[in-house]
């Protein structure tokens, strides 16, 4: 019944949902970040190095990785977000490449292009911890690898649900209204007393934090990372989750990440054309449906009620 292969795909879907949220939150003030793969790698490398080389516990590594991504996000955001949106896109594109170059070249710390292996594994660490307390997988009628996959899935699911609750409440508040006002008309928003620069830096650095967090989780789920995991292609993939699924409603990136992670698994042989399809999705969506597959009117219709507006952003 419990199939580790399906559980692993489900776990990757959940990580991709967090990544999709990371770009969605930045887009919510009308800003495009192309550096989320870079922030992801900062979270991943920080947590991996702290746990492997310093021996910190996994939770401390993940928190440190997320926090560092957040701080660097603020540093990049301050000079660029006072300017037109394109500056942020360009600066973050450059940032992503520089971080990757840094991880490739700083061999003494990162082992360069080879990457870091033997990162403490989320599921195995949990199992080991429980076994010390006398638990064994058989008590639940599971094999060890089934237990490991199931643990990862449950932890990631809990995290994702918490994050979705966090953002659905945030978007339904005064702060969320300010985000949307800025996206719709930045100057008018400023005239309403909204400090637009503050909120733009806030959403951008929250996006960086989430990407770093997802990166740290990724490191401890796969157990191995290398600079090849965090290329510009990854940044585009993250963007596609939100652009395809919907960049104006919280369920958009969730649907995008779910659909675009499951599709290649179901259609074997499609993975070769994955980036063709991603590129085509970006162009076609911008031409025919710039808000993405899911938008508020569609959600209202799915729920069978009309009107309602967007105050319930979830």
């Amino acid at each position: 019944m419990i199939n580790p292969y399906y559980l692993q795909i489900a776990s990757f879907i959940l990580i991709n949902i967090i990544l999709g949220l990371s770009i969605y939150i930045t887009l919510s003030t009308g800003q495009l970040s192309l550096g989320n793969a870079g922030f992801m790698s900062i979270g991943a490398y920080t947590s991996a190095l702290l746990t492997v080389k310093v021996g910190l516990p996994m939770v401390a590594g993940i928190l440190a990785g997320s926090l560092l991504a957040f701080l660097i996000g603020i540093l990049i955001g301050i000079p660029t977000l006072r300017l037109q949106g394109v500056y942020l896109a360009i600066a973050t594109l450059g940032f992503g490449e520089v971080v990757r170059v840094l991880f490739i070249n700083w061999e003494s710390l990162t082992s360069g292009a080879v990457g870091i292996a033997g990162i403490p594994h989320l599921g195995r660490t949990m199992l080991a911890g429980l076994q010390e307390r006398g638990f064994s997988s058989e008590q639940w009628g599971l094999k060890n690898n089934e237990f490991i996959s199931l643990t990862i899935f449950i932890i990631l699911l809990a995290i994702t649900v918490l994050l979705l609750a966090f953002f659905s409440r945030l978007f339904a508040s005064r702060v969320g209204r300010a985000f949307r006002a800025i996206r719709l008309d930045e100057k008018a928003a400023e005239a309403m007393g909204i400090h637009t620069t503050y909120y733009k830096i806030l959403t951008f650095s929250m996006g960086a934090l989430l990407a770093g967090f997802a990166g740290a989780l990724f490191a401890h789920v796969t157990g191995y990372i290398s600079p090849a995991d965090f290329t510009y292609h990854r940044a585009v993939e993250i963007l596609v989750f939100a652009v395809f699924g919907g960049s104006e409603v919280l369920w958009g990136p969730v649907f995008g990440a779910l659909f675009l992670t499951v599709m290649p698994e179901m259609l074997r042989g499609m993975s070769e054309y994955r980036y063709f399809i991603y590129g085509t999705i970006l162009v076609v969506m911008m031409v025919f449906r710039p808000q993405g597959v899911l938008d508020q009117p569609l959600l209202d219709r799915l729920r069978g009620r009309r009107g309602g507006g967007g105050d319930d952003a979830a």
Partner: protein, 294 residues
Amino acid sequence: MFFEQLINGITLGSIYAIVALGYTLVFGVLDIINMAHGEIFMFGAFVGMLLISYFEAPVLLALGGAVLVTAAMGLLLERLALRPLRGKKGASHLASLISTIGVSIILENLAHHLFGAGNKPFPTSFADASFTVGSTTVYLVQVIILVIAVLLMVGLSLWLRKAKAGKALRATAENLETASLLGINTGRIIVSTVVVASAMGGIAGVLVGMAFNYVNNQMGLPMGLKGLAIIILGGMGSVNGAMAGGLILGLAETFVVAYGNSGYRDAIAFVAIIVILLIRPQGIFGQALPEAKR
């Protein structure tokens, strides 16, 4: 040694300038950053490589072929990914950015499927030809690149200033609505801007192939990033800024590599972006501060 590095830097810088001119022309007229420009540049390099290595074509023919192909790509880009977004209600400034990112990803993978991964040699008959001036060795290929680049830049400047189409283009860049009221066919100006910019990218591709003797399908992104850094450095939409910024970046990279760590060459462009945004966000030649607001 110093003078050789200086010549290397100027050669590299003149290529960067041509790439940056492609971005700045499109930004000046359309207020759009064409994220696919780097990949169009890469296709120019591949067309040049194919013509030279399989048909043993002379350099000028390789340039001509690259111009034809990349100009056609510019035309398609405008038709399929830019024009449908123009004047569309509710399309934000992000729409064109995202759609050109889509095109860039398609092109990079198309190149991967057509030409394969990894470096492809770009052989030129004069790759090793050199002469010495005093104690400085100068390669013939550097002279050729410099001559082509300077001709192109002078030609573009003259065209923008003197030719009727160039004037119309500048008027359109100044103000699209006014230009169309003055009877300028702005739709045609926009198409020709994208086509000319793409063709310049194609030429830059062949020049890079000649300079480095190889091409690959990943070369678009780093070169695109440098072009973008240069237009931020020189001022968005500024033609002179693109040329000056190109030279500055070319020289900076050459000297950092000569006296420092070559692994970080591609990082210089990014550092330049952040520094310029902190101290002079409008760029060296930019006039009005492009602030979204206060």
